[in-house]
């Protein structure tokens, strides 16, 4: 066995409360400084704490391109600063194609809040509401990509507080699959009232600066920032003579499926993932010298994490240094996994230990906490742990640049089959081969469906309409695949999140102050709520993520699910999107010629060998799935010629894509436009995919090409009959 290549880190960048560069942040962190100040971005009266790791002096207008200052969020600016520092350090040719993947949870929520606060009280006029949709999670990636100019493949991921770490693992997958030669991966989150109020309402915020792992710890202190790493295969980094700062050696992603806010107290799932990350890196606990813990400072996280570390690391747990950086930079949520990865890499490279500031009396004295600042110690390898809302966990392993080469486990993914499908729309939930009825019928009654009736009342009691539609559809696809939820992953595409519900939460906050901010509501308003709820409801313990890319979010979810299959071919992965009716989104986007509706679809993707081995009968084969920006003719010609029994399934396409289609070999193929039947929503591409799978399963065609497009991106998905050769 040759094994896989190592992932080299050739550049990194950090912006945090401790500094505007990785060097400044690292030096001050090693020295034991805290970056906490009273937040001056918004009113913190009535909250449990006014302290946070705010990035002071962040001049968004000076960072944004000329003329765009009003549209850039703090998160966009933070992301660009960290991205530029990382790319400059990597000394990579600026013109070479770059992959960009960022994790985050809040996007431009701070700017959305300012826009909302400026509106007159009462009902929101459509022209005012537009501003509330200007800052979805995906815009940071879009803006950074536009400024860098060389980004050809991108994704925005949210798995709550493990988002940044998940982005790094996805970046590694793009390199290993050969999709990209260089990836900029990281995480970003700016402070905002939604998260500040939410964590305060949950009683998870310490009134004092946080004290991770201390017996007296009483919650977290929030922070903001960004971290980016440049990842390359070792061979290409060496070939161009790049300096290798360290290696991203291994990773493990998964979910607890336990509770929307509480970690599973025994740490069993987290412990398994720590072991999995070690195995992925070809390392044993005896090889590890340091753990950068999630260490939020909440009573529950730190207790769970100490147990998980002890269980996974065994006797080595008392030898391995452990610390949390959150007592100095705060909990930067979606950025945390990436910033802490960067700090771990620097800690190994310099042999400099990062302390846990504020730790006086350890609650788990058997762990070897770093307490004094400015200590030196040779470090060979480190783990960085991230655990988020809804039990979304990620563990990364890093090694020194001089680490010896060894054979690394190289999971081989075979061809990908679709073993389950479901679609949701005006007819309700349709599964398997029946999912294509949305293509066939001519008219649909405007039925008033309540998606909650499809779900168990007790287990779905906190779900909003968005989660209900989504979880019911994911459940339909899962059942149609007859695959076990244990180990199965999920990637949900979401264009805007639950906009109206978030606005209601914020309006109540503005009207009545934080005293009556609902603690149970807050976890339902984060970007990863849908994937978290699906993981909990369905018992999915694989990686469960939300991705965001406007009206191609569902198609992007399929891309990201394929990347997850690349990392772990043994597990199935659900992918898709469902958009529920939303008053504000409808007010802003509903005015056009297209009728707005709600719905979407999910498919279950699996390695063919794994699916056959468990006795599954695939519905279809996913022959290819990719996105392009421009060069539509070249993309279409990559597909080859259609067969006699082929079908083209589309959503509304821009003229340039129509023109490219007309010039392609697919021009004469029978075509169905999904939205001409059921109206338009941002998950219509996911409906189209589920319909294509169902048409093949029902033997209505042998080959189906799904063509969707939004904001200059073209997605092409070619599906064939299961017996069709790939």
């Amino acid at each position: 066995m040759l094994g896989r290549e190592r992932i080299a880190i050739t550049g990194l960048g950090v912006v945090s409360a401790l500094g505007s560069s990785s060097e400044q942040t690292f030096q001050r962190a090693c020295a034991g400084e805290r970056g906490f100040v009273p937040v001056d971005l918004f009113d913190t009266s009535g909250l449990r704490s006014s302290l946070a790791g705010q990035v002071l002096g962040l001049d968004v207008a000076a960072i944004a391109p000329r003329g765009e200052a009003a549209d850039w969020s703090r998160s966009d600016a933070l992301a660009l600063l960290a991205a530029r520092e990382a790319l400059t350090a990597a000394r990579a040719p600026a013109t070479e194609p770059l992959g960009l993947v960022l994790g985050g949870t809040t996007g431009g929520m701070y700017e959305t809040e300012r826009a909302l606060a400026a509106l007159p009280a009462g009902s929101i006029e459509p022209r005012d509401a537009r501003r509330l949709l200007d800052f979805p999670l995906s815009v940071s990636v879009e803006r950074v990509a536009r400024v860098l100019g060389s980004v050809v493949h991108s994704a925005t991921v949210c798995s709550a507080c493990s988002s940044g770490a998940v982005a790094l693992a996805l970046g590694a997958s793009w390199l290993l699959s050969g999709r990209m030669g260089r990836v900029l991966a990281g995480g970003v989150d700016g402070l905002c009232q939604l998260t500040f109020t939410g964590f305060s309402a949950l009683g998870a915020m310490d009134a004092e600066p946080c004290r991770p792992f201390d017996v007296s710890r009483a919650g977290l202190t929030l922070g903001e920032g960004a971290g980016c790493l440049v990842l390359e295969l070792e061979s290409s980094a060496r070939q161009r003579g790049a300096e290798i700062i360290g290696f991203l050696s291994g990773w493990a992603l998964g979910s607890e499926a336990h509770h929307i806010t509480h970690p599973e107290p025994s740490g069993a799932r987290a412990s398994t993932l720590i072991t999995d990350a070690l195995r992925s890196a070809g390392l044993a606990p005896s090889d590890i010298d340091y753990v950068n813990a999630h260490g939020t400072g909440t009573v529950q996280n730190d207790a769970m994490e100490a147990l998980a570390l002890q269980r996974a690391l065994g006797p080595d747990a008392s030898r391995i240094w452990v610390s949390s950086s959150k007592a100095q930079i705060g909990h930067t949520l979606g950025a945390a996994g990436a910033i802490e990865a960067a700090l771990s890499v620097l800690s190994i490279q310099r042999g400099a230990l990062l302390p846990t500031v504020g730790l006086v009396e350890p609650a788990a004295p058997s762990l070897r906490h770093v307490r004094a600042p400015n200590q030196k110690s040779a470090l060979r390898a480190a783990l960085s742990c991230s655990f988020g809302f809804g039990g979304a966990c990620a563990v990364l392993a890093f090694e020194a640049p001089d680490a010896e080469k060894r054979v690394l486990p190289a999971p081989q993914r075979g061809s990908v089959v679709v073993s389950g499908a479901a679609s949701y729309g005006p007819l309700g939930l349709l599964t398997g081969a029946a999912s294509a009825r949305y293509l066939e019928a001519d008219t649909f009654a405007e039925a008033e469906l309540d998606p909650l009736t499809l779900l168990d009342a007790e287990r779905s009691r906190r779900f909003g309409r968005a989660s209900a539609c989504l979880v019911a559809t994911a459940e339909g696809a899962l059942q149609s695949a007859a695959v076990t939820p244990a180990g199965t992953g999920l990637v949900v595409g979401s264009a805007f999140g639950d906009v109206t519900r978030s606005v209601q939460f914020l309006q109540k906050l503005f009207d009545r102050g934080p005293k009556f901010a609902s603690p149970a509501e807050f976890p339902q308003l984060v970007a990863s709520t849908g994937s978290g709820n699906a993981s909990l409801y369905l018992g999915l313990t694989g990686p469960c993520l939300t991705v965001s890319e406007f009206a191609t979010s569902g198609e992007n979810a399929v891309s990201v699910a394929l990347a997850l299959l690349e990392l772990d071919p043994a597990s199935a992965c659900l992918a898709g999107a469902v958009e529920a009716r939303d008053a504000i989104v409808a007010a802003v986007l509903g005015g056009g010629p297209r009728r707005r509706s709600e719905g979407g679809g999910f498919v279950v993707l699996e390695d063919e060998g794994v699916a056959r081995a468990r006795g599954a009968t695939p519905l279809a084969r996913l022959l290819t799935h990719f996105a392009l920006r421009g060069e539509f003719d070249a993309g279409l010609s990559r597909l080859g010629a259609p067969l006699a029994e082929s079908l083209l399934i589309t959503t509304p396409l821009p003229v340039e894509v129509e023109a490219a289609l007309a010039r392609s070999a697919w021009s004469g193929v029978p075509r169905r436009d999904v939205s001409s039947k059921i109206g338009f929503h941002e998950a219509i591409g996911a409906t189209a995919l589920a319909c294509a799978v169902a048409q093949i399963a029902a033997e209505k065609c042998r080959l189906a090409l799904v063509v969707t497009s939004d904001r200059g991106l073209l997605y092409l998905s070619l599906l064939g009959a299961p017996e069709e050769a790939s």
Binding site: A201, L202, G203, H259, I260, T261, H262, L452, A457, E458, R461, R462, K515, F516, A517, S518, P519, A520, P523
Partner: protein, 87 residues
């Protein structure tokens, strides 16, 4: 407000604030424990209920361990509200 009406209002608060769809006031026993076995509620529900009681009845619920006694049952919540209002 008499005790029956107060308890009915508490039950409505529980049903609405904790999204107990498909359950009615009749499903909640005045003296049965609300957390743990009872209605299957957890500590996130306790936080929500504490906020809701203060919002709806103008009575604060203490945090942490003392909240346990207050949330023991509908009867206990009613007693806490009456006591706070009388005091």
């Amino acid at each position: 407000m008499d005790q029956t009406e107060l308890k009915s209002q508490i039950k409505r608060a529980i049903l609405e604030e904790l999204d107990l769809r498909g359950k009615s006031e009749a499903d909640i026993d005045d003296s049965a424990p609300l957390f743990g076995a009872g209605l299957g509620l957890d500590s996130l529900d306790a936080l929500q209920l504490a906020m809701a009681i203060e919002e709806r009845f103008g009575v604060a619920v203490p945090e942490g361990e003392p909240a346990r006694a207050v949330f023991a049952s509908v009867n206990a919540i009613a007693a806490h509200i009456e006591q706070a209002k009388a005091g």
